[in-house]
Structures are given as structure tokens and as C-alpha cells.
Symmetry: C2
Subunit: 195 residues, 2 copies
């Protein structure tokens, strides 16, 4: 609708306010029990109002993921900029992987994959985050090895997908497969290729 885009442009601050409330709500009540009411309460408004801005529960969650991911994107850049290549690699892996089975950012990803958005624009934004992570990783790898641009890119994409797969197991809570296990596995794979 025209309404939607107008609002998005006019009141980005309001949307951000709701999305922060959503993050807080997820942390506090957990994903399984999350109601729109929980978000509305924390944002200091009514459930109808939250729906007025976002249209549906799923849209709120997708938007929350987009914000959370954009946020991390910035933090990542800022933090990795002044680390040497080895430390940067280690830190990137740490930032990428879930902290545990209840990691909010990853729970959001899981949710969105289980009920994917229909509109292409959102899908492209999600893809953008995939690419951003891969690009950052590729840059670090080039500092660590004599790989060419193409090979580094390939390495980066493969390892991002590897981390996605490992994250699934962490999210499931498979016994023994926790965050530390995942990190170790990724770094081992990277080292074995980089020599």
C-alpha cells in the first residue's frame, strides 16, 4: 500500500522504537511465548498500533531481523577495522555464529527461513547481508594468504554457508554441539585450507 511506504519514510524512528522493543521482548519472554502484546507493552503502545505500522506478526519479525542484522553489520565493521588479520578472522567467526541455542539474532533467522517473506525486495536485502559477511571475510582472508580475489571470495562464501549449517545444530541444541564446538569446527576448516 501507499500507506505503508509513506509511514516507513515518515517515521523510521517509530519503527525502530518498536523493533527495539521487539528485541527486548524476545530476550525477556522467549521466542516460543512471544505475543504482539509483549512487544506493544514494551514499546508503550497498543497492539493495534503495532499492527498499524507493520501489518502482521511475521513482518515485525522480518523487520526486526533486518534491523538487528544491519546493526551487527556496522558493529562488525567498526570492531574488525583495527584488529590484525588473525584476530579479525577469529572475531568475525565469533560474531557470525550464534552465542547459544537462544541467540536472538539466529532465532530470528530460523523464524524467517521457516516462514520466508514473499516480496523480492526483502529477499534481496537479506541476500545483501549474506554478501556483506562474505565480502568482509574475503578481505580478511586476502590479508592472511596469497589467494586471488576470486579464490578468496569463493573461500568466504563456502565458509559462511558452513557456519550457517553449523548454526542449525547449535540452535537445535544437539548435545555436545554448542557454540564453542561450532567455532572450533569453522576455524579448523579455515586453517586447513589456508595452511
Amino acid at each position: 500500500m501507499a500507506r505503508e511506504s509513506k509511514i516507513a519514510l515518515d517515521r523510521p524512528d517509530m519503527r525502530a522504537h518498536v523493533l527495539k522493543a521487539a528485541l527486548l521482548a524476545i530476550e525477556e519472554v522467549g521466542f516460543a511465548r512471544l505475543r504482539i502484546r509483549d512487544i506493544a507493552d514494551r514499546a508503550g503502545m497498543s497492539t493495534g498500533h503495532v499492527l498499524y505500522y507493520f501489518g502482521s506478526r511475521d513482518r515485525i519479525l522480518v523487520s526486526t531481523l533486518l534491523m538487528s542484522e544491519a546493526d551487527l553489520d556496522e558493529r562488525r565493521r567498526a570492531e574488525l577495522a583495527h584488529l590484525d588479520a588473525h584476530a579479525a578472522l577469529d572475531r568475525l567467526v565469533e560474531l557470525y555464529l550464534p552465542k547459544g541455542p537462544h541467540d536472538v539474532r539466529w532465532r530470528l533467522w530460523a523464524q524467517v527461513i521457516a516462514r520466508p517473506p514473499e516480496d523480492e525486495e526483502t529477499l534481496l536485502r537479506l541476500d545483501g547481508f549474506f554478501r556483506s559477511w562474505a565480502a568482509e571475510l574475503a578481505a580478511i582472508v586476502r590479508r592472511l594468504s596469497d589467494l586471488g580475489a576470486e579464490a578468496a571470495e569463493d573461500f568466504a562464501v563456502r565458509h559462511c554457508r558452513l557456519m550457517d549449517g553449523l548454526s542449525n545444530e547449535v540452535l537445535l541444541g544437539i548435545p555436545g554441539h554448542d557454540a564453542a564446538w561450532a567455532k572450533k569446527a569453522v576455524l579448523a576448516s579455515m586453517r586447513r585450507e589456508l595452511g
Copy 2:
């Protein structure tokens, strides 16, 4: 409860009947709109009855995944047994990856990852399927290369997780990232390592 385990033992056929109905229902009405009613209709019973056997919607879905995965496990063994190593590798990748964004088996996985089961027994069974795929892949790889048992196992696990990650993108429906793209990416990675 005692009730639950008793039923599971006494009436495995009834459970299987419902689960097959669930698969059918998912195919027909899609995941987003799936109601217990849709499953009950197809199984020729009431919603109350379905819940009597499974206790909750989530349990039905987890059980459906377990059955579907066990089924594929068998089919895979049977089919790969009489293929040469190259063909077997190709076919395993094809069987593992989603056929498209609506692949029922993978939608079930996505659902289960988004709302993981609590009980350890189920988690271990899920882990069992991970291991089974990896073992099968490792065996094929050993036929194709001179890798040792340990290296082949490592190769297999890494590539299973890689396929999981690629599957996420297929499920999301990221433009350009379809089933064929995923297959190509996996095989490229495998070839590059196996030489």
C-alpha cells in the same frame, strides 16, 4: 506420561497413518496454511483424535520429520548401493538438497529448527540422521579418493553442513539461488578438494 509411551508402542501403525496424512496435507495446502484440521481430514479422523496421539501440533511436525527422514534414509541406501562412486556422489547431493523452496522435508527441518524439541531423545534421533548422511558420504568419498577414514569423515561432515547452509538460501527463495545453483556449488567444492 505413561499414556504416551503405551500408545506409541501399541499403535505404531496409527501414528504412521497420521504422519502420512500430514505429509500429504503439507503438500496440498502448504506449510503456511497448515491446520491440524487439514491433517485430520486426510487421515479420516477428528482433530481431537490426532491430538490424542501426538499431544501438540509441534510434536506432529517433529514426528513427521523423523518419519520422512527415516524413510529417505532407507531409500537412499537402496538407491546408492548399485551406483558407481561418481554417480553415487552426484545422487547423494541431489537427494540431500531441497528440490525447491517448497520441499516438504526441508520445510519440516526449518520448522523444527525454528521451534526445537525439548526432549533429548528426539534431539539425539535428529543427530542420528546428520551422522547417517555424513557416514554415507564418507564411504563414497573413500571410494573416490585415497583419503583416510578420518579425513573422509571430516570432509563429509563439512560438506553436509555446507549443504545445510546452501539449503537455507534455497528455502528463502533468494533470487538466482535455486536448487540447481546449490547442487553446482556443492559439487564444485567437493571436486576442488578431491582434485
